[in-house]
């Protein structure tokens, strides 16, 4: 299991991990709970790209 990504949106935080079988899992925490995942981790984000978890760019660009 690797820590892959974490993001903060106001008081809602999400932390993405990769399970041993390659599936992703995202924890959502609100308020003070899970505050350790607040910081955005660029290195971890690159790990997620290698793991194939990065979300592709918006398909709306230019085709709406």
């Amino acid at each position: 299991m690797i820590k892959a990504d974490s993001e903060t949106e106001k008081d809602m935080r999400r932390r993405r991990i990769t399970l041993k079988d390659g599936r992703y899992l995202i924890f959502y925490t609100f308020g003070d709970k899970g505050a350790e995942s607040d910081s955005h981790n660029e290195a971890a984000k690159h790990e997620s790209v290698k793991a194939g978890l990065e979300i592709p760019g918006s398909k709306r660009d230019g085709d709406v």
């Binding site: 949106e9 992703y24 924890f27 709970k33 899970g34 398909k59």
Partner: protein, 328 residues
């Protein structure tokens, strides 16, 4: 084996997912795969306990990001395509013995915000043209796990029921210049007999054309298309009216009321759907405390639902159990 097979008779896809036969079926509470893993306990799907809500890729998905090649070759009459898409499981709480109806409205508000976040992320995937968020609750619906959870399917096409609503909404807009769901909401407000609950941003009603005895629809008052269009005030209002409706469901027969809950919003295929309107629909299978409404010959074979009840009477029943929501 997993693939999409075209049905030329109905003009729609059927998904096969034979591996789902092996999925966990009603395990005892001590072996619930949706509880957080306990120290020294068996490993569940959720390896850590600190969260409010968690989502993960379904271990037994009907649609996959990297699906296998179809087991059979398609023909001109019978096209086949890989079942590409996404299936997520959305766990509402670390607590096993709760339901959405039992949770405080603050937890439901968190769920609404997670719904919006999942829509935002999944709708940007190239392989997903429609993000479908739903909950099957209760053994009467066929749930295999009791831990409170919903699901999200990212379909690689617009599913037929949604396409029909889109077609009807577009035609109504072309004919009248107005939104169909806005007109339905206006009609229900004007009549009043089928209203179940209202607040500043949403109305809940059993529609005039209900197919199930306690089929409640919750529709946005303001005209918007997707979860990501909601203001924070509207997110809170949606949580509040959801709490009111599902708590009333449980009080109807003093049981944990089974239902299917589905969110209908715009597709995510990059086109504009300004004529469409966000709403939720509940399809509870019970017609009395101990009798199910079955989808039998007419419903399944002809597509004509026969409702044994009147929406006006069932809405009145539900209204008696509606209570205002308390925020802590």
């Amino acid at each position: 084996m997993s693939e999409l097979r075209w049905n030329p008779l109905l003009g729609e896809w059927t998904a096969t997912a034979t591996h789902r036969q092996a999925r966990t079926f009603l395990p005892p509470a001590d072996f619930c795969p949706l509880c957080p893993t306990k120290p020294g306990g068996f490993p569940t799907e959720i390896p850590e306990p600190t969260y409010d809500i968690v989502t993960f890729e379904n271990q037994f998905p009907s649609l996959l990001p990297d699906p296998p090649e179809p087991a059979v070759a398609g023909t001109e009459l019978y096209p086949v395509r890989p079942s590409k898409g996404v299936c997520e499981v959305l766990v509402y709480s670390p607590k096993h013995s709760t339901t959405l109806a039992d949770e405080p409205v603050e937890q439901i508000e968190k769920l609404v915000r997670v719904w919006a976040d999942r829509f935002r992320e999944l709708s940007e995937l190239d392989e997903v043209d429609y993000v479908f968020i739903f909950e099957n609750k209760g053994e009467a619906i066929g749930v295999t796990l009791h831990h409170p959870h919903g699901q999200i399917y990212g379909y690689p096409f617009i599913p037929p029921r949604i396409q029909r609503e889109l077609d009807q909404s577009r035609a109504h807009m072309a004919q009248t210049g107005r939104c169909l769901l806005c007109d339905i909401g206006g009609e229900e407000l004007k009549d009043g007999r089928r209203l179940v609950a209202t607040n500043e941003s949403f109305i809940a009603y059993i529609p005039f054309f209900a197919r199930w005895p306690y089929e409640v629809h919750i529709s946005a008052v303001r005209h918007w298309q997707a979860l990501t269009d909601m203001s924070r005030t509207e997110q809170r209002a949606l949580a509040a009216i959801l709490k009111m409706v599902i708590a009333a469901f449980d009080k109807l027969f003093d049981i944990s009321f089974p239902y299917m809950m589905v969110l209908h919003q715009r597709p995510s295929d990059g086109r504009r759907y300004d004529y469409y309107h966000f709403h939720l629909e509940f399809y509870p299978p019970l017609r009395t405390a101990n009798k199910l409404k079955y989808l039998a010959g007419s419903e399944t074979g002809a597509g004509l639902f026969i409702n044994d009840t009147l929406a006006e009477e069932k809405a009145q029943e539900l209204r008696r159990h509606i209570q205002s929501v308390s925020w802590s």
